[in-house]
Amino acid sequence: MSCSRTPVVEGWFGGEGDAFRLLGTRCSACAAVFFPREDVHCRNPRCAGGELVEVPLSRRGRVWSYTDGRYRPPSPYVTDPELPWEPYALIAVELAAERIVVLGQGVPGLTVADLAVGMEVEVVPGVLHEDAETVWTTWQWRPTTGVRA
C-alpha cells in the first residue's frame, strides 16, 4: 500500500530538497512578516492592513536556544507507546532577515550535546511520524557545519 505524504500543518512549509522553506506571509502595506502565517489581518497595530502575501523564510539562522524532552509528551503528539521514548532536540532559531525566532525539532540523531547557542542551522524537510496511510511531514533544524563529535 502506498502512503501519501501530508504536511502536519497545511501551508507552513514547502519545496523539495534544497528549495525546502518555511512559509510565512508578509503584509503588503507595512512589510511585517508572520510565522505561523496570518492570512486575514495584519497584526501590526500601527498598520491599517494590507494584502498578506506568502513569503518563504530564510533557509538559515542561528540557534537562540535549545532543549529536549526526556519524557514522552502527551497527546496530541503521536508516539508509539510500545517503543521506548527517544528524546529529540527542540531548537529555537533566530532568522536575521526576518528578525524572528522559530521553534522546531532537530533532525533525527541530533542531541543537545551537539548544539550551542549561536550555531548556524538550516531548515530541512523531515518526517514527524507515519501511520498505515500517511507519512506526516514537518520541518526540522540541522547544523550547517556537521554534527560535533
Binding site: 511585517a32 510565522f35 528578525r99
Partner: protein, 410 residues
C-alpha cells in the same frame, strides 16, 4: 494613532484608589484527589472567618476558572456561590490561565471602586492531573496550544528549558545557580503550613534528580497541585465601618498585554513576532508587567519589602528578579548568590516557598500570592516573616499574553 498608543501605554491614568484586604484563606496545597469545589469553598470560608464576615454579607463573588473542573470549573464563580449557599450575590467568572487569580482580584477591585459592591469574595481552586499539562482534546489545528503539542511535542518544561539555556549562554548562569533557587525556596516553604512540599532540599538533591528538559531537572520545575485560595476585598469606607483601622490595601493590579512585536518566545507560541517592520518596545513584556504595577502604585522596586514571583522553574525566578528591577539585566544569579532574595536578605523573594514548594494550582496560584503578601504585611507570617514588611508585589504571566502583578501595602 500615536495618541491612542500613548494612552494605551498609560493604562488608565490617575487610577490610584485602594481596596482593603479584609480576609485571606487557603486550602493546603497537595494531591488530595478531591473536587476543586471543596478546596475553593474551604479557602472561602477561611477568608470570611479571617475577615470576620458572614457569607451572606458579601455582595459579589468572583471565581477564577479551572479548565480541569469540567463545566462547573468554567463557571467557577457560581459553582463556589452554590457550594457556600445561594444568597443572591452578583457573580463573575474569569479565565486567564496562570493569571486567572489576578484577573479575579482585578474584577473584584473594579466593582468595589466603581461602587457596584462594598465587599467581594475572590476564590480560585484547582484539582490537577498527574504529569504534563495537555491541551483540550479533539483535532483543533486553529489552537496554538494544541499545535505546539501536535507539531513539536513541546511541553511546558521544554519552554522553561529553552529560557534556562538562553540565560546560561547570555548571562553565564549555571545549573548550580538554578539549583540554589530551589534550595532557597524549599527552606522557606518548609516553614509554610499551606505548602505541599515542606522538606528542605539540597543542591546535591537537585543535581541528582532526573533531567526533564535539558538543562532543567525535576526539582528545577514546579509540580502540578491541588489547592484553593480566597480573599475578601472591600472598599476602604466599608473596612473603616467594619473596624479594620489599618488593613492591608491593594494599591495596584497590572493586567497588561504585550506590545507588538513581542520578541520573547512565549508559551504556547511556535515563533516570536517578527521585528522587521516595527522596532520592539524598550521594555519586554515581563518587564512591562511589573512596570505597569509600579507606575499605578507610585512606587519603584527600591520600595519593596518582598516579592512573590511565578517560579515555574528555578531559572525563571532569576529572570523575574531582572524583570521586576530588583537588579540589572543578567545580574539575577548574582543577587541570589549574595543572599539578597533569601529570608533575612535585602529583598526576600517567594517567602511563601513559591511554586517550588506549592506546585501550581493554576487558578488559585495568583490569589495565593496575594494571601502571602497579606500575611507578611500584617506581620503574621510566623517563622517565615519578613521583618518590617510594608510593601509587596506579586508577579505572574498567563498563557497567550496575560500579564499580572499586584502591589499591596500597609
Amino acid at each position: 494613532m500615536d495618541d491612542l498608543a500613548v494612552a494605551a501605554d498609560n493604562g488608565g491614568e490617575g487610577m490610584t484608589d485602594e481596596v482593603a484586604v479584609l480576609g485571606a484563606g487557603m486550602h493546603p496545597w497537595g494531591k488530595w484527589g478531591r473536587s476543586f469545589v471543596e478546596y475553593g469553598a474551604t479557602a472561602a470560608r477561611a477568608a470570611l472567618a479571617d475577615a470576620g464576615l458572614e457569607w451572606r454579607e458579601v455582595g459579589s463573588i468572583v471565581g477564577a476558572d479551572t479548565v480541569r473542573g469540567g463545566y462547573p470549573g468554567y463557571v467557577a464563580g457560581a459553582t463556589f456561590a452554590k457550594a457556600l449557599g445561594w444568597q443572591g450575590a452578583r457573580v463573575t467568572s474569569v479565565y486567564a490561565a496562570c493569571a486567572s487569580g489576578a484577573q479575579a482580584v482585578n474584577a473584584a477591585r473594579a466593582q468595589i471602586l466603581s461602587g457596584l459592591a462594598d465587599v467581594a469574595l475572590v476564590v480560585g481552586a484547582d484539582a490537577a492531573p498527574k504529569g504534563f499539562f495537555r491541551p483540550a482534546g479533539g483535532d483543533r489545528p486553529d489552537d496554538p496550544d494544541w499545535l505546539r503539542f501536535r507539531v513539536l511535542g513541546a511541553t511546558n518544561p521544554t519552554y522553561f528549558g529553552l529560557y534556562a539555556r538562553r540565560r546560561m549562554a547570555v548571562h553565564g548562569d549555571t545549573v548550580e545557580d538554578f539549583a540554589q533557587v530551589k534550595v532557597k525556596n524549599s527552606a522557606m516553604g518548609a516553614l509554610n503550613p499551606y505548602a505541599r512540599y515542606r522538606k528542605r532540599v539540597t543542591g546535591d538533591e537537585v543535581a541528582a534528580s532526573a533531567v526533564v528538559a535539558e538543562p532543567l531537572r525535576l526539582l528545577d520545575i514546579c509540580a502540578t497541585s491541588d489547592g484553593g485560595a480566597a480573599l475578601v476585598l472591600s472598599s476602604m469606607e466599608f473596612a473603616r465601618r467594619h473596624g479594620a483601622a489599618e488593613p492591608v490595601r491593594i494599591r495596584a493590579v497590572s493586567t497588561v498585554t504585550p506590545h507588538y512585536p513581542n520578541t520573547v518566545l512565549d508559551l504556547p507560541d511556535i515563533a516570536t513576532d517578527s521585528a522587521v517592520a516595527v522596532e520592539p518596545a524598550a521594555r519586554t513584556f515581563r518587564e512591562s508587567i511589573a512596570g505597569a504595577a509600579y507606575e499605578e502604585a507610585g512606587i519603584g522596586p527600591e520600595d519593596l519589602s518582598l516579592a512573590e514571583v511565578y517560579d515555574l522553574s528555578t531559572a525563571l525566578e532569576l529572570q523575574w528578579y531582572e524583570d521586576l528591577g530588583l537588579c540589572g539585566a543578567g545580574e539575577g544569579a548574582k543577587l541570589l548568590r549574595e543572599g539578597a532574595t533569601a529570608l533575612g536578605g535585602r529583598i526576600p523573594v517567594n517567602p511563601s516557598g513559591g511554586l517550588a514548594s506549592f506546585g501550581e494550582a493554576v487558578p488559585a496560584q495568583a490569589i495565593a500570592q496575594v494571601c502571602e503578601l497579606t500575611w507578611q504585611l500584617r506581620g503574621t507570617a510566623g517563622d517565615r516573616q519578613v521583618a518590617g514588611a510594608r510593601v509587596g508585589i506579586t508577579a505572574n504571566q498567563g498563557l497567550f499574553g496575560h500579564g499580572s502583578a499586584v502591589v499591596a501595602v500597609r
